[in-house]
Every structure is written in structure tokens, then in C-alpha cells.
Subunit: 198 residues, 2 copies
Amino acid sequence: MKIIIVGATGTMGKHLSNAFEKDHEIIRVSSSGGDIQADITSLESIENLFEQVGAFDALISTAGPSYVGPWKHMTDKEFRKGIEGKLMGQVNLVLIGQRYIEPKGSFTLISGALASDPQLNFANAAAANGAIEAFVRAAAIELEDGVRINAVSPTVIEDSPQYFPYFPGEIPVSMKQLEYGFRKSVFGANTGQVIIPY
Amino acid sequence: MKIIIVGATGTMGKHLSNAFEKDHEIIRVSSSGGDIQADITSLESIENLFEQVGAFDALISTAGPSYVGPWKHMTDKEFRKGIEGKLMGQVNLVLIGQRYIEPKGSFTLISGALASDPQLNFANAAAANGAIEAFVRAAAIELEDGVRINAVSPTVIEDSPQYFPYFPGEIPVSMKQLEYGFRKSVFGANTGQVIIPY
């Protein structure tokens, strides 16, 4: 399978690239580094990405910039970070990528437990996650040629201990659990699902 | 109670304005018409709105422009309609309005069943709704001075029969049910809730 991993140099993307490269052709995409550089907040950059890759079987996105910080400093400007990044960046990967994906291919986006289970400082990520989860359900009934779409929705992840203090009471998701969530989406048959890997 | 109703000249806003004006001071806000004209996609217009109204007890938003139409015509451009309108418009009403609201005041935003229960042609509204529902949960744990926030999430509404063909199998929400959903948010004590008025 030819699998595009967007956010391939991040904590999740690195793990997934390594896990899947034994059996599949992996195209590592990142804002800097990887096989192809792409900025998912730019439509032109996303078009260039798909032009370079051509037809593919699966796209995994682990790319989700959003504003993390005190509510009292949050204005429209800060909120745009998650809207342009985690939300529209991923939506545009699907809206544009659907023209290049093989029949029965799949999109797997990254959401997060904050959509239903908020923590202080993360209202922007929460909103982006909620949008992605609803988008995935809606897009699943629109995509043609058997193309599937799901989201994986972890809580704080094992290999990002710098975030642990922001998630009191959350048991971190192990990298293996996370990987299995993505495996279910990419290699399973489900669509329109929010996969909770714990 | 001094209640701002944004979208006051629309189907929902008109009903709510009429229902609540017997016992409360209603400020009707609309893009054209009403007591005050405001464009919720403009930060300046939202600031002007609150400057004119001053302190208030409750804000109800029924304003949710989004793109309705075939998936195959949906690009970034169409998707922005719901992002700027139903999502960021409502988010900014809260981010700015929190500086003007009275202690123990409330924000009630409009979401919709499409967040969890999609229909063809509505992926944009679905995403905006999902974002609003997650935002409400996240903002509820951030807002200070006892200020509350909820969303009301109807399916297609009784007085908008032009939408019935797009919602096969959905029993329309009556205007009274819708009104009661908003009553629960404005006059109740709950916060961070998605109120399903049916």
C-alpha cells in the first residue's frame, strides 16, 4: 500500500512511519524534513504535494497545530491557529486529496479526546477536534468509489510527557495503542468512525 | 433580564424574541433589521454591538451561516462560509462578549444534530456544529464569575419546511421544543451542555 503520512517528523508520525514501513511504501510529509515538504495551511502546497505523490492508497494525518494557552489571552487571532491548522489543513487534505486517492482508499485524520473531554488551555484544540470528528462522519457519506474516512482520537500520548501536566487524571495513550488506532482505520473496513485507541 | 438575541430576524430568532419579550428586555440583533445591525464575521462589528448594548445578562445566538450544497462542489472557499459564519462568528461573540456580560450571565449558541447525525450536502454545517459543541464544553470550564455557556442542537425545525427534503427520516423539531431548549440554557443553571430539544 502507498501511504502518505502528513506530520511524519512529529512524535506520532515518526512512530507510525517506522511501524508501517516494513510492509508498505511510506511517503513522509512534513513542514520541514521528510520526503516531501508541505504546508497544510496553503492550498497551493497541498496541491503540489498530491501532484508529486500521484495516486495513493491511504493518507494519515497527524498534523494538528492549534493554540495552547490561557483562555484570557485567547482572541480571534489565537483561535485561527487551530482553525487554519488542525481544522482547515486536514479538511483541505481530504477535499483536494480525494481527486488523487485510489478507489477503496482511506483518509485517517487526527482528532483528540479534548473534543468531548476538555482541559484548561485547550479550547482551540477542542473546537478543531469537534469539527474534525463531525466532518469525518459527514464526509463518509459523501466520498465516492469506496473511499473511507475516519479520525483517531487519543488523549495525551505517552511520548509527549511535556503535555502531562496539562492533562490531570488522563492515563497517557501508549504509542502502541495509538498505532493500533491508525491500523484499524487504514487496514480495516470502517468509515465515518471516531476511533478511540484506549 | 437583558437578553441579546443574535439572528433575531430569522425563523428561530423571531420565535424566541416573541416568546421572551413578555418577561424580559430583548435586544434584537441581525445583519439587517432588528434593534442593532451586526455582522458576526467582523470583529469590529461585534465590538460595536457590545459597546452599544453595554452590560447584559444573556446572549442567544441563532446565527449560523454555512455552505449547503453538493460535496463535489465543495472547496476551501465554500467551506469557509460555515467556518467564518457559524463557527468563528459565534466563537467571537463569546470571546468578545465575555468582557461585557454580567456575572452569572449566559451564552447560548446554536449547533445542530448534523454534528453527530450527518445528511448529504451538509458537511460544512456538520463541522461547524461539531466545533461549537466542543467549544461550549471547553469554554464552560474557562469562563469566570459564574458565566455559563451551552449550545442548543436541534434537527430540522418545523418552521423551515424548505429544508425537510434534505432531512429524510428526521422528525422536525417544533418551535415550542426549540424554545424550551433555549429556556433550559438561559434560565437554568447548567453549563457546558449540548441541549437536544427533542
